[in-house]
């Protein structure tokens, strides 16, 4: 019985972690759907769900392709618990096309593609500073296009 208890505790903890991850992800989808998608208007959401739970110091990136002749809106939408984040749009040579920093945030960037180009959106969450509290929050990277 004594041997069973640690296994049981470990199993319960693992289960709790998995359940909380699913719940957090579901909240992330709900947040992205209700808060972020409407802000893409008048652009049409490209239907790709790129969202992650990030903590201070963490980074996410999305590889995407912009097609010639099309207009796009790139948007980074962050849950308020995380505060503002830094993000940039870079071309295939890592040259910055657009950058938004947390102290002067811009939540979206509109562009038109003259030729078809691969680009990357990089998001990084500023460090937690002196606080002992680590906030984890949803960051959604969305793209809208004009039909």
């Amino acid at each position: 019985m004594r041997n069973v208890r640690p296994i049981l505790v470990k199993t319960l903890l693992t289960g709790a972690v998995l359940v909380s991850a699913v719940v957090a992800n579901a909240q992330c989808r709900s947040f992205a759907k209700n808060k972020c998608v409407p802000e893409l208007a008048p652009f049409k959401f490209n239907e790709t769900f790129n969202a992650a739970q990030l903590a201070p110091g963490e980074e996410a990136e999305v590889n995407l392709t912009f097609y010639s002749g099309q207009e796009y809106r790139v948007m980074v939408c962050t849950h308020p618990i995380l505060g503002e984040v830094n993000w940039k749009l870079v071309d295939e040579n890592n040259r910055i096309v657009f950058e938004s920093l947390a102290d002067e945030p811009k939540h979206h960037f509109d562009l038109k593609a003259a030729s078809t180009v691969p680009m990357k959106v990089i998001v990084w969450v500023p460090g937690a500073g002196k606080s002992d509290m680590v906030h984890v929050g949803c960051v959604a990277i969305m793209v809208g296009f004009k039909e």
Binding site: R29, F45, T48, F49, E61, N63, L64, T65, G69, K112
Partner: protein
Amino acid sequence: MIAMRTNLWPVYLVVAAFLTACGGDPPAQDTLNVDNGLDTAKDERIAKTKKIFYSIPSPMETAALLKKAGAEYNSKILNDVKNVDKYTAASQQALNLGVYGADLSYASVFNHTQESMFYTSCSRKLADRLGVMSAFNDSTLELMQANMNDRDALLDIISETYWNVDAYLKENGRDNISALMIAGGWVEGLYIATQVSATNDTPDLRQRIAEQKLSLNDLVGLLGSYEVEDARLTAVMADMKALQALFAEVADPANGNAVTEENGVTVVGGGGALATLTDAQLTAIRDKAAAIRNTYIN
């Protein structure tokens, strides 16, 4: 209240008709192995896929691009709705959810509402069998039926449903199913474009097909996250690499790096040449896409 109920009867009847139009009871099915172990390799994979995303153009975006490029609608090239009950393996269901999703987007963008409803019904059946009912249920069909004559509203409902299914799969740790669905949709989009080009060849359409070289790279990146763990994904990856070899012959469309401004809007990719395909390249890609798609739908 009674009047409202009465008014909904035609909708229920039509929805029931669509459901029966796409086959009967679901046959017994096997399952796609999902490794639930918390081993190091999986932790690394989760960490990798959690932070690095590959944005593949959605079926709706691809269909809209095709329409802009002057493509025509051809219902004969789409996957037969009667095939839906053949898909018993979860991996087949996932691939064909993507295939039917692309067919649905193609029919809807070109305003073929009746066919859209049939493909919606097939997609819903496959989503049901994959356990994604909460993202795609009867109320979605009713909503589509109620908006049948409003193309924009219909496209919005289809878009939202597609992203609900994709998001549901990802947030429930079934990224491999999501990846197969995305791959199936992408292959069907390429298949449609190349088949349409056989009878309705335009420079714009060739350009759009050539540009898929870049999306294919992203798709290979996405599938590469799972290659080790899932046999079906490994097979799909081999298919995509075979296509990649053909696209390698196509001149890289992404060589424009000038950034300018036009009426207050940033323009990227200036100075780049537009992508194109030779006859031989187009034929080779068309044949390969058809062969791969054939193995997915049969």
